[in-house]
Every structure is written in C-alpha cells, then in structure tokens.
C-alpha cells in the first residue's frame, strides 16, 4: 500500500475474559503480554521489542510502563492510549503505523481493563455533554437503534435477539469466553428490560480482561513463523459532524472506516472470511452488515435469515462469541479482536477454528458519543490477511 512496509502479526495472547474482582489491570496486562511473547516461540527475546502501546479507557496512568517492568523491560518508547471502546484498536493502529512507516521494526500493543472494579450502572457518554446530563447512555443508544430496526427495517424482536443467541452458541467453543452457555429467545425476553426494547441479554456482560499482539516486519517474523498474517491496512477515525437528517443506523464512522480500509487494501466486503466487531449490544451486528457493505440498507433481515453470519456462513461474525459472551473490558477488546482474527487466519484457533481456511478477516471497534458528532464518536478497523 503506497510504499509502506508490510506489517505482520508475530505473537498473540489474551487472558480469559471474565469477572476477576481484585485483579489489577496491570496483572492482567502482564498475563496477556507473557502469553503473546510465549506464542512467538522459545527463541524469542522480548528485549528485542522496540516500542510499546498500552490501551486503557479508565483512570490511572503509565499502564504500558507499569506492565513492561514486570516483564523486565524498560527504557523504550512507550505510550498509553484512550479512545472509548476503540482504545485497543487505536493501540494496535499506532504500533502498525510505527512499523509501516519504518519508525520501528517490532513492538507490542497491550489492551487491559477491569470493569468489575467500577461503580455499577449504565455505561454513559462523555461527562458534561448535553446528552449525558439528559440521561443518555450506551444502552439507550442501542434502544434507539433497535426501535429504528423494528419500525423501519421490518425487524422483529426475534431478529434483534439473534446476534446474542448466535454469539453465545459460538462461545461454547472459546475457552477465553466468560459465558459458555446457550441461550434462547425466551431467555432473552425474560431478562430485565434496560432501555426498550434492549434487555440484559442483548447487552455484553461486565468483565475484566487483557489481550496483546506483537507486530513486526516480515523479515523478523520469518525467523519464527512459517505462516505470516499481515495487517493489510489499519485505520482510526473520529466520526464526522452530525447532520439533522442522518440515518442513525448508517453508522457513519464505520462506513468511513470500511471505505478507507477497502480502498487501501484492495479487499472488499465480498472477500471477508470472518469479522470480529463491537457487539456490545446485539443490534449492532444487524446494522453493521449494511455499514460494511455486506448487504444493502433494508436487506439486513434477509442476510440474517440466510445464515450468512453463522460459523458456516459466507461472512462468519464474532465466531469468538463476541462481546456478547466475552464482555467488553474497554481497553482490551480492540486488541483481542486482532489476536482472534490472526489466530483464525493462522489456523490455530483450536476448537473454534473455522473449517473453510479463512484468508481475509476484518476487525472493528466503535464507541463513544458526543452531541454534534454522528454516533458513535470514534472507531478503529483493520483488515488482516494470510499468505
């Protein structure tokens, strides 16, 4: 792409995502980073890392420096990033950029977060924003979108629940998932109403966890791996300003990211063998299909009913179990999805490995809300491919 250097995934690691009360984000970050280092292989010296990006959306400082000292690594360029739900995608992106532009040859991105240590309540929007003061929350945003899907796209409550049911089924195969239990439509409808029609089982659980990926040049990677997974493109964008007549289901930041990633990589929606994306709320998968160009607006329901997003479908979505089953430690998810897609493309995803030898995968994380911008306010996206 435009004279940039190729960037490949050298190692991936993650913790189990679940309720780990009392375990600090640093401890989890160390666990994920160690797993990524071990994943590279016994001959790998972590002191060869040249830079570190850590992502964490909640308070505290120096997360990268703190994690790395427990791995015996200091004295490097390190940064800490925050970008709401897309924080982890941003850490991966910055590392990708460093290597693609020739600033560094190898580095690690680590995402970590403890959500159980927070005060219980709905995930809100930027403090002091008009909508925040008026009681807006992320579940309320999902409620607005669900009612649009029902009133304007012919979706039923069964359709809205489908991604949650599918992703819980997918998670049965994922040892890192918090939930390994199938759920039914009746279970969803019996769960507590949060913001109509969104119920508890449409929402991701509150979990803690961390993930890490080591990226490098192909020259370095060839010393350790035979099958190189390349990050063909990576993007981070803020949402554009909102227009009074925008369609709330046309997630503008996701559409802009997808266009930029398709243009840069030469891949298109028809090429995507798997997709891991932000399904903090089940309905997000439904309108993501139009935003990613998998179908036209209004055809989302047909796509679902044709099984296109199933493990066995043309575009498997969230085969990990997604945020619906792993939860959403905010800083970690954007790194975890890159680790997940890389594992699938290598053919090393264990029980959950897709059988059709996936060649191209897309990762996406979106989040945040600011009055004046289209919703959500920020996003990250990568397209990965295997030789």
């Amino acid at each position: 792409m435009n004279g940039l250097r190729d960037v490949v995934v050298l190692g991936v690691g993650q913790t189990v995502f679940g309720k780990r009360r009392g375990v600090s984000p640093i401890t989890m970050g160390v666990e994920a980073a160690k797993a990524a280092i071990e994943d590279v292989g016994p001959g790998f010296d972590p002191k060869s890392l040249e830079c570190v990006y850590a992502s964490r959306s909640r308070d505290d400082t120096q997360t990268a420096e703190n994690i790395m000292q427990f791995l015996g690594i200091a004295g490097l360029e390190m940064h800490n990033t925050e970008n709401a739900c897309a924080s982890g995608g941003g850490a991966v992106h910055l590392l990708w950029k460093d290597i693609a532009y020739g600033v560094h040859d190898i580095g690690i991105a680590i995402g970590t977060e403890s959500m159980t240590s927070e005060k219980p309540g709905l995930i809100g929007v930027a403090g002091g924003d008009l909508a925040d003061v008026l009681g807006f929350s992320m579940p309320a945003l999902a409620g607005l979108c669900c009612n649009k899907l029902i009133e304007e796209c012919g979706c039923t409550l069964e359709d809205i629940a489908y991604p949650s049911i599918k992703n819980h089924r997918n998670a049965l195969l994922n040892p890192y998932a918090m939930y390994k239990k199938e759920i039914t439509f009746e279970d969803v409808m019996r769960s507590k109403l949060i913001s109509d029609p969104v119920r508890t089982l449409h929402c991701c659980p509150i979990t803690d966890g961390a993930a890490a990926v080591i990226l490098c040049t192909p020259e370095i990677a060839r010393k350790y791996a035979h099958k190189l997974v390349k990050i063909a493109t990576s993007k981070v964008l803020s949402a554009p300003f909102e227009k009074w007549n925008d369609d709330i289901l046309d997630t503008q930041v996701m559409m802009d990211l997808a266009k930029a990633c398709y243009d840069d990589s030469g891949f298109g929606p028809e090429d995507l063998d798997l997709i891991e994306l932000h399904d903090a709320f089940a309905c997000e998968e439904i309108y993501a299909t139009r935003c990613l160009g998998l179908c036209k607006a209004g055809d989302e329901k047909k796509l679902i009913h044709d099984g296109v997003l199933e493990r066995t479908g043309k575009h498997p979505m969230n085969v990990s179990g997604g945020l619906q089953s792993l939860g959403h430690p905010l800083g970690a998810s954007g790194v975890r999805v890159v680790a997940e897609v890389a594992s699938q493309l290598r053919g090393e995803a264990g029980q959950r490995q897709l059988e059709n030898h996936p060649k191209v995968g897309l990762t996406q994380m979106i989040g945040g809300y600011l009055t004046g911008l289209t919703v959500p306010a920020v996003g990250s996206m990568q397209i990965l491919t295997v030789e």
Binding site: A131, L134, G135, A140, N147, K192, E242, K243, W244
Partner: protein
Amino acid sequence: MEEKRYFWDGLIREGNDGPVLIGHRCKKCGKISFPATTLCTDCLGQEFEDVDLPRCGKLYSHTTTEVPVGKFPLPHAMGHVIFPDAKVRVFGPMSAEDDLRSGDDMMVTEDVLWTEDDGTPVWGYRFRKVEVQ
C-alpha cells in the same frame, strides 16, 4: 418567587405561543446549532444570533430507560426530534406516558426533569406527543 433552576442555561425560553428551544444561527452561513456553540462546524464562523426553533417537530428515534440513570424518575423516555425547516436534530427527554413511534408529531414543553435531594426542582425541556390537524 424564587427563580426557576434549569439543568442547562440558555436552551429554552417563553415564546408568544409557549416555550421554545433556542437555536444558535451562524451569521456567516445560516446554519442553526443546538445547543449553542462557539464555532460553526460548517464554515468556522464565530458570530451567532439566537433564533426560536419551531414549537413542533417530528420524532426521529426513541427509547425508554427502565433502570436508574442520573436523578431522573423512572421510566425515563428520551429520543431525537427533528425540525426539518430549521435543519436541526435535538436530543431530549420525552413524556413516558406517550406511546411513541418514529414520525410522531412532538411539541416542546417546559417541565421538571428531576428533583434534587433538598427538594429543589430542576427544570428543562421535554417533548410531548401532539395531534396535528
């Protein structure tokens, strides 16, 4: 009489026919913003004048939150109302008694949004469904 306490200053005022929301029109390009801003996002203009938004708009989106959020009494209905003539979309609280559906005609009213622990009512705007002939 004690002055009303509003949750956010400069959003609503009493018009000739009832309360209206105050839009903020860019003197350079005419774009109307709500709430007030210091910079026009279309032309970067920095001079504005207040304009009344129409009293009625169309419901664009809606949901009702059933679990505690801020100090709002539950259930807490909210959503977006669009004012096509002014080309503005406004997020705000709705009346939880209304059976809402996108496209409904909505009127802005002034109402108590919540009550502080010391009993002080906090005022703001709330949209209510109306039948327009």
